[in-house]
């Protein structure tokens, strides 16, 4: 049986781990069919619009809050595609960007995700090409990013306050709002044009998107540890998270999906 993939803080990755990650992203960004980066980015907004934010409804007017489960499935499929492009060893998982960290509150986006080049080579974690010929008008350009003042990133205290909310719906609404804030912060603008992270249609092309959402997923995981893995509205459980072959119930336990967020493991004898 395969071992669990450990998703790590990008600030804690070794140079060798970062190189494996960059190589895998570069390969993924070079594939233009349905195994590649462009395909997965296009599932979120332009041109397929599968993403779930805020309340949706199905058949009845009953509200369904699928933001967290849908993005968990999305990250999982993306991570699998990314791992397909990496060697079997070392294993890589999606890294998470802790926008509450002291480093982020000083420099903003971590260097690993911001530097345009590393050792003279293109850094595929800093930007990606958007190819969306079905958009109106068609889009064919590099992603743009104009992050805000690092001091205004969300604090750890704010995130910790959410972990005390006992109802899934309440927690999800508040966490999604922080998520919305970081999208606007990271996208920003240069006075004449906005950054892609700040626009739902193109956000998933920015490589920062995946590490931002990995943090959102991790916060949900930490909330689940405190408030219960199955703490969710029962009517959500059978809902299929299109276009993925997973239901909400399928994505509640991250270990059952093959990954974890442990930051250390120390044997005590």
């Amino acid at each position: 049986m395969a071992s669990l993939t450990v998703r790590k803080n990008i600030e804690s990755l070794t140079p060798a781990e970062l190189q494996v990650l960059r190589d895998a992203y570069l390969r993924l960004q070079s594939i233009w069919d349905n195994r590649g980066y462009n395909y997965f980015a296009g599932l979120h907004g332009i041109p397929n619009w599968y993403c779930n934010h805020h309340d949706r409804s199905i058949r009845t007017l009953q509200n369904l809050r699928l933001f967290l489960p849908w993005h968990r499935a999305y990250l999982l499929y993306f991570e699998k595609a990314l791992r397909d492009q990496a060697g079997p060893d070392p294993k890589i998982g999606l890294p998470w960007w802790d926008w509450t960290s002291a480093t982020s509150h000083t420099i903003g986006v971590p260097a690993a995700l911001a530097e345009p080049a590393v050792d003279g080579r293109f850094n595929p974690l800093s930007r990606a090409a958007i190819y969306a010929p079905a958009a109106n008008p068609p889009i064919w350009r590099w992603t743009r990013r104009f992050p805000g003042d690092p001091r205004w990133l969300p604090s750890a205290a704010l995130v910790n306050s959410l972990l005390d909310l006992s109802q899934f719906r309440d927690f999800s609404i508040q966490l999604e709002d922080i998520h919305d804030y970081v999208h606007g912060w990271a996208g920003g603008n240069n006075g004449s044009v906005g950054g892609d992270m700040g626009n739902l249609g193109t956000a998933a092309w920015d490589p920062l998107f995946w590490s931002h959402h990995c943090t959102i997923d991790r916060i949900w995981y930490m909330w689940q540890l405190r408030q219960g893995v199955n703490n969710i509205s029962p009517e959500l459980l059978p809902v299929v998270l299109q276009p993925f072959s997973l239901t909400v119930e399928d994505v509640l336990n991250v270990n059952a999906l093959g990954y974890e967020y442990a930051i250390s493991k120390v044997a005590i004898r």
């Binding site: 805020h54 104009f146 626009n199 299109q242």
Partner: protein
């Protein structure tokens, strides 16, 4: 780099006498918030009608909290793509509702509401939108649109 959009002012103050004196949490629920355009932060102030994007977001200035909108960025589809059909009449239709159906945002505003209740002042809400990011397809000014605000208190 950030720009201020058109500010919302509540036209009729909520009489403080209608708010329970005892509560552990007070929420301002913004109902049917539009999210088709730019991404923005909406700073919510209680009893500070002069608030703007430069007003310090602190309790002393009536800051109650904020909500944030991750905007759709305008329509990049063909004509009609972003037209919202709010009510589905066909109960056999398995599709999810339109992604652009207006949303609810909840600002936990306990301290600001408690201050108003303690001071026995009626509640006037000002919302200052601060535009973060946009596309060539999204509007630039009149971006803050919602139906109404609910004040919810919990014991």
């Amino acid at each position: 780099m950030y720009a201020q959009g058109k500010v919302f002012q509540s036209t009729t103050p909520l009489p403080v006498s209608t708010v329970p004196e005892q509560f552990v949490r007070a929420d301002l629920e913004f109902i049917d918030v539009d999210h088709a355009g730019p991404s923005f932060e909406a700073r919510v102030f209680v009893n500070n009608p002069n608030a703007n994007m430069n007003t310090p977001p602190t309790e002393a200035y009536g800051f109650a909290g904020c909500f944030n909108v991750f905007g759709h960025g305008g329509c990049f589809g063909d004509p009609g793509h972003c037209d919202v059909h709010e009510k589905r009449e066909d109960s056999f239709d398995p599709r999810l509702s339109h992604p652009l159906i207006p949303m609810k945002k909840v600002v936990i505003a306990t301290a600001a509401i408690r201050k108003a209740v303690n001071q026995r002042t009626d509640i006037h809400v000002t919302v200052v939108p601060i535009i973060k990011s946009w596309t060539e397809k999204s509007e630039a000014d009149d971006i803050l649109r919602f139906d109404h605000i609910n004040l919810i208190t919990y014991r």
